[in-house]
Amino acid sequence: MATLEFERELVKLREDLEEIREDRGFKGDREARISELEFELKARTTRVFAELTPWDKVQLARHPDRPHALDFIDLILTDFVEMHGDRHFGDDPAVVGGPAKLAGQRVMVIGHQKGRDTRENVRRNFGMASPEGFRKARRLMVQAEKFGMPVVTLLDIPGASPVLEAEERGQAWAIADNLLEMAGLRVPIVVVVIGEGGSGGALALGIGDRILMLEHTVYSVASPEGAASIVWRDHKFAPEAAAALKLTPPDLIELGIVDRIVPEPPGGAHIDFDAAAELLVGALEDELAALAGRDIDALVAARYEKFRSMGRGAVAPV
C-alpha cells in the first residue's frame, strides 16, 4: 500500500482502529475506544480532505492503490468478456473493453487500464494508450452501436503514449477518429472519470451523453507538469498549474463540462473498493435508466448540443 503525505495521520488512525478491533484482550472499555477512534477518523478525514490543495487532489487521483478499470469492471459488472485487438496492428493492454451486463442490462464497457505493479505497468505502458488501444475502443463502440448496447467508458490515463512509434502509427488520427465516432454513435454513452483524466488520450473515450467524475479524480487539458513546462517554462510549477487549470470535479461542474460527481467512501476509493463500486454502480444504473427511454435521434442531437455549447461562455465579440 502506498501512502500519500497527507494520508499519513489517517493511515495511522486506521491501523490503531484495526489493532484494537482485533485485540480481544484490550484492557478497558474496548467498544468505547473503538467508537472514539471511529469518530476521530471520520472527523480527521473530513478535515484533511477539506484542506486538500488542487495538487494534493492530483496525487489522490493518481493514487497507485485506487481501483482501476478492471477492478471496477469486476465489481460492478457481470459476464464481462474482454475483447482484444484493433484488427490492424495489435492489441493494446492499456485499453480494455468488451460486452458485459450491468444489473442485467447489456452494455459495452471500455476503459483505460493502468497496471497494479511494476511488471503489469510495463505491460500496460503505465496506462498510456497507443493508437491500437484507441482503435480497439472504436471497434467496440461501433459494435455497441450495431447491437444496441449502451457504452460505458472508464477514464484513467496520464496521457496518450508519447513515443515515436505511436506517432508513426497515427496517435493523433486514432484519437480524432474516436471523437468523430462517439459524436454520432447511436447508442447512449456514459463517461466516468475514475482516476486521472489526462488530455486527448482521456477525451478519446470521453464523448458521451453524461460525463461523471468520481469524487477524488481530476480531468485536465494537460498534466499539471506539462502545463507548467509550457506556461511557467518549468515543470516544478506543477502545483501552481494544478490550481490554475481548474481540474477538480466541482471546477468542471461549474465550467459546464461535467454533469455529476459520484461520491467515494471516506478516505477515497482505494480505502474501500466495494463501497466505491457500490456508489458507482448506483450512479450508472440511474444514468443508464434515464438515457434508455430517450429517442435515439434526440439523444444524438442533445449530445451534439452539449459539446457544441462548451466554451460558449468563454467567447464574446469585441
Binding site: 493523433a172 480524432a176 468523430l180 486527448g200 477525451l203 469585441v318
Partner: protein, 315 residues
C-alpha cells in the same frame, strides 16, 4: 475587420533588403523570398505564412473574402494568471504584435473559381494554440460550409492546447469533431492543409478528420511534441521524425505539396471530388484537351478562370 493591414504590406519589404533563411542560413533578396511566398530560394525551406499571407496565396480575390465571426475574442473563463500577468493582458500583447484578434481567420471565398469555406490558423498568435475562440470559429466555419453545402478547406497549424483555458480548450477538440461528424455525414468535402507545426489537440481533432490531407514540405506534424518525446525516451529523434514527408511515408498524409503548387493542387482536388470550380490545365493535360472537350459536361464543369486574375497572387 480588415485582414490586410499596413503591417502586411510592410512585411513585403522594400527592394534591396535581405532575408536570412532560418534553415540554411543563406541570404536572399527579401523581395525574391516574398515573391516565392516565403520559400527559401536556396534550400526550399518553407517559412511560416501569416493567415493574411495564406489567404492571399490561396484565394482568387482575397479582398472579396467574407469573414465569419471576425471580432470574436476570448473572455477569461479560468481567471488565469501567471506571475502577476493575467490572461487578458497576455492576449493583448499577441493581439498587438500580430494585428489579429485571435489565432484563426475564417470566411468564404473562391479558389480557382470554386466557392469554399476557408479557415486559416496563424502561428504568430500564441503559438496557434486552440482556445474556445479557435474552436468556436472553426465550428462556425464547418457549420457555414454545411449550411451552404460548400467544400471546406482548413489551413492547419497549432502548437497545442491553450493552457490558459484549461478543459474548455480540450473540449474544443470534441466540439470541432462533432461538427465535422455532421459535415461528413452530409457528404461534403473537407481538405486539410497541414503546415508547420500541426501538433497535439488540433491534429487529434479537426486537422486530421479530413477527406484529403495535404501537407507542406518539412512541416512538423504529430501529436506529442519532439521535446517531450525526447525527454521520455531519453534519446534524440531522427531529424526527419514527424516531418510531413515522414508522415506521408507512414500513411497519415495524402500528399506533400510545395507551396508554389498548392493553390493549383487544391483547385484540382476541389474539382475532382466535387465537380466545383475550374482546374487550371497543366501542360500534360493540354494534350488531352480534345478528349475532355468531347465529354458532354466537360466545358461546363471546367470554365476557364479569368486570365486577368493572377492565380495565387499577393495582395
Amino acid at each position: 475587420m480588415k485582414i490586410f493591414g499596413r503591417r502586411d504590406r510592410e512585411r513585403r519589404g522594400p527592394e534591396g533588403l535581405w532575408h536570412t533563411c532560418r534553415e540554411c542560413g543563406e541570404m536572399a533578396y527579401e523581395r525574391e523570398f516574398e515573391m516565392a511566398h516565403k520559400v527559401c530560394p536556396k534550400c526550399g525551406f518553407h517559412e511560416r505564412l501569416s493567415a493574411p499571407e495564406r489567404i492571399a496565396l490561396l484565394l482568387d480575390d482575397p479582398e472579396a473574402f467574407v469573414q465569419i465571426a471576425p471580432r470574436l475574442a476570448t473572455t477569461d473563463p479560468l481567471k488565469f494568471e501567471r506571475d502577476g500577468l493575467t490572461y487578458p493582458e497576455h492576449l493583448a500583447r499577441y493581439q498587438q504584435s500580430s494585428g489579429l484578434i485571435e489565432a484563426v481567420i475564417c470566411g468564404k471565398g473562391r479558389l480557382d473559381g470554386a466557392e469554399i469555406c476557408l479557415a486559416v490558423i496563424d502561428f504568430r498568435f500564441l503559438g496557434a494554440s486552440m482556445g474556445a475562440v479557435v474552436g468556436e470559429k472553426i465550428t462556425l466555419t464547418v457549420e457555414a460550409a454545411m449550411e451552404a453545402r460548400l467544400p471546406l478547406v482548413i489551413v492547419n497549424c497549432s502548437g497545442g492546447a491553450r493552457m490558459q483555458e484549461g478543459m474548455l480548450s480540450l473540449m474544443q477538440m470534441a466540439k470541432t469533431s462533432a461538427a465535422l461528424r455532421r459535415f461528413h455525414d452530409a457528404g461534403l468535402l473537407y481538405i486539410s492543409v497541414m503546415t508547420d507545426p500541426t501538433l497535439a489537440g488540433v491534429t487529434a481533432s479537426f486537422a486530421s478528420l479530413a477527406d484529403v490531407i495535404v501537407a507542406e514540405p518539412g512541416a512538423t506534424i504529430g501529436f506529442t511534441g519532439r521535446r517531450l518525446i525526447e525527454q521520455i525516451v531519453k534519446q534524440k529523434l531522427p531529424e526527419d521524425a514527424q516531418s510531413a514527408e515522414f508522415m506521408q511515408e507512414h500513411g497519415m498524409v495524402d500528399l506533400v505539396s510545395p507551396r508554389r503548387a498548392l493553390k493549383d493542387l487544391l483547385g484540382r482536388l476541389l474539382n475532382l471530388y466535387t465537380g466545383a470550380g475550374a482546374p487550371v490545365d497543366s501542360p500534360a493535360e493540354e494534350a488531352e484537351a480534345a478528349s475532355v472537350e468531347e465529354s458532354p459536361e466537360g466545358p461546363e464543369a471546367a470554365p476557364k478562370v479569368d486570365e486577368s486574375q493572377p492565380a495565387g497572387g499577393q495582395v
